[in-house]
């Protein structure tokens, strides 16, 4: 259903929804910076094997705890220096980006898909199903995310897969609640009723008729969920409950760097900086998306 007028008048051709969204989005400088940084980090992650100067696990026994290239005693071979066993920090950070983004993507996708399904079912069918699903979500929400994730990892055992599973479960209720709330506002609108009258089945109503109209808040939540996933994953790695050494995960890199805090500042500084910048980028972009997608907040 395009809105272009056939009569040749001076009426401006309405923007496509995407163009309208984009024009709002690029007005927000922070969001644009966030997006650029994310694109950059994704590029590094995808081409880590070509971009990284060294293999992330390769130990240069003659170059243990070398400071960054610009500092005194630095070596141009290792831009950001080396860690306690002589591994190149820059290469580990680049490969860590791959790990963090991938695990973030998995966590967000799993909780988003499951959350959408549960939320649609709860909102669409109502009654006992609704009560049961929402009670379950409330119980999960009553515990802080990190605490709940720690509890689940305590059961399953520390590993990167288990902590990913735990975090997917922890973020689930947010998507369930959001989807259900949007479904409830949409379900009694005319277009839904008319397709129901036209004989659309429950599945078609849920996924094809209603869902596309509920997506905006979900996209925003998923972007912000990415930053939470990366942050909490790093925290679990730092506590020794997430990724296990020698995986170059940012949080577990920090955990092993702790012992060098008095002697080698660079081992401690860079992994945290990259976590902060990535999380900040996703938060900036999430805020920008929310402003651009939600007409109620547009000013």
């Amino acid at each position: 259903m395009t809105m272009t007028s056939e009569t040749q008048t001076t009426v401006r051709v309405p923007q496509t929804p995407f163009a309208e969204f984009w024009s709002y989005f690029i007005q927000n400088r922070g969001a644009l910076i966030g997006l650029c940084f994310i694109v950059f980090i994704v590029f590094l992650a995808v081409f880590a094997d070509f971009v990284a100067p060294h293999h992330p696990h390769e130990q240069f026994r003659d170059f243990i705890l070398v400071p960054p290239a610009w500092a005194e005693g630095g070596n141009a071979q290792f831009w950001l220096g080396t860690d306690g066993v002589g591994r190149d920090i820059l290469s580990r950070l680049i490969h860590g980006a791959r790990l963090s983004l991938l695990i973030g993507l998995v966590i967000v996708s799993v909780s988003l898909v499951l959350g959408i399904c549960l939320g649609l079912v709860a909102g669409f069918f109502g009654g006992f199903v609704d009560v049961a699903i929402m009670r379950f979500a409330d119980i999960l929400l009553s515990m802080p995310a990190l605490l709940l994730a720690i509890a689940i990892v305590a059961i399953l055992g520390p590993s990167i897969v288990n902590s990913g599973l735990a975090l997917s479960l922890v973020y689930l209720p947010h998507y369930v609640r959001l989807t259900r709330a949007s479904v409830l506002t949409e379900i009694n609108k005319d277009y839904v009723i008319s397709s129901r009258v036209a004989g659309a089945g429950a599945l078609r109503l849920m996924f094809i008729v209603i869902l596309p109209n509920c997506l905006a808040p979900l996209i925003v939540q998923a972007t912000l969920g990415f930053s939470n996933a990366i942050l909490d994953m790093a925290a679990l790695g730092f506590l020794g409950l997430g990724a296990q050494p020698p995986l170059p995960e940012w949080g577990s890199m920090l955990a092993t760097a702790r012992e060098f805090i008095q002697s080698a500042w660079w081992v401690v500084t860079f992994p945290g900086l990259i976590i902060l910048m990535t999380v900040l980028a996703f938060n900036l972009m999430g805020d920008g998306l929310r402003d651009a997608l939600d007409p109620k907040l547009k000013q």
């Binding site: 409330d138 509890a151 925290a235």
Partner: protein
């Protein structure tokens, strides 16, 4: 009011039951059964095993076991640690004051700095100060606090030598434990300088733990203040010729604080889970460090009991915040 109270209480009970079901299930979901874990490497013979099963009630049907567990929990019996052989409850009670002390100091830091920054940013909207505050707030909100802690240690403890690296009190002091709160105990003792030592140990952990809540509160205060400052009654107050200071403190701030209070309440859960990270880094002898160490030692009764207690505290605090909110804002208690 009574009806509001009862309705809110009615929501707490199912949540508590859900949490207790979860912690009860924890012991059955871990790989290997509890008795094998208790036995360690030596293990038990079949007879001993049967005896232990009967003693621990593991031979009963599972639903019965849950009710026994729930009954014990409600009487304050959370089992015994596999490692120290101490009751979980008494271990928790002896470590909890350290965590409360830390979280309260962090909360004080977060509220004072957060409110100040938020108000200043709202008054100077669009200016340099506003932008600085918003940047600090956004950075603080995205901060991996375990890294932030390491940076602060690096700067203030290692390079400048201003604050100690870890613990609650310098080893040269010996202070009798009266309340469990180091700040109070050192004041009660007659050791010179002990209070200063305790205080200096608290500074960095409180800042670290308070950073994210501070960022959230600053952001919320700013937007809430901006909303209130645009209201008609503020214009009226201005038209009456009241001083700017009086308008902000008496008219705007009071109304702007209502949503801020809710946000503060929501931070309690964040503070308690953040305490796990903060305590681990600063070797702070509280429940967070205890819990993480117990996971490492596979001390499951402690993990089970500790989780249940922390979750219960968070549920109760949230309840308290809701009730307080209902007292402050009548619209809440009469809705639906």
């Amino acid at each position: 009011m009574l009806q509001f109270l009862l309705r809110r209480l009615g929501m707490v009970i199912p949540t508590f039951i859900g949490v207790s079901l979860f912690t009860f299930a924890l012991i059955y979901l871990i790989p290997g059964d509890p008795i094998t874990i208790m036995g360690g490497e030596r293990g038990f013979g079949p007879e001993q095993r049967a005896e232990l099963e009967a003693m621990l009630g593991l031979d009963k049907p599972i639903w019965q076991q849950y009710f026994i567990y729930l009954g014990n929990v409600l009487q304050g019996d959370l089992g015994t640690s596999y490692v120290t052989r101490q009751p979980v409850m008494s271990e928790f009670m002896s470590l909890f004051p350290a965590t409360i002390e830390l979280t309260v100091c962090a909360a004080i830091f977060a509220v004072i700095t957060g409110l100040t920054l938020g108000i200043l940013a709202a008054i100077k909207r669009g200016g340099l100060l506003d932008h600085t505050v918003m940047t600090i707030s956004l950075t603080g909100y995205s901060m991996p606090i375990f890294w932030w802690a390491l940076l602060l240690i690096l700067l203030f403890s290692v390079n400048l030598g201003w604050t100690p690296v870890s613990g609650r009190l310098d080893v040269m002091f010996w202070v009798d434990e009266v309340t469990g709160f180091m700040l109070i105990d050192t004041l009660l003792s007659d050791e010179d300088g002990a209070f200063i030592s305790a205080l200096s140990h608290l500074v960095l952990p409180s800042i670290v733990l308070g950073t994210i809540p501070m960022a959230v509160i600053a952001r919320m205060t700013r937007s809430s203040m901006l909303e209130v400052l645009g209201e008609d009654y503020i214009r009226t107050a201005r038209a009456k010729g009241l001083s700017k200071r009086r308008i902000i403190v008496k008219h705007a701030l009071r109304n702007a604080l209502i949503p801020v209070i809710t946000v503060m309440g929501l931070q309690v859960g964040l503070l308690l889970s953040g305490a796990i990270l903060t305590e681990t880094i600063f070797a702070w002898p509280g429940i967070g460090k205890w819990l993480i160490e117990s996971i490492g030692r596979r001390d499951y009764p402690v993990v089970q009991g500790g989780l249940l207690l922390i979750a219960t505290i968070i549920i109760l605090v949230n309840l308290l915040v809701d009730l307080m909110y209902g007292v402050v804002n009548p619209r809440v208690r009469h809705s639906k």
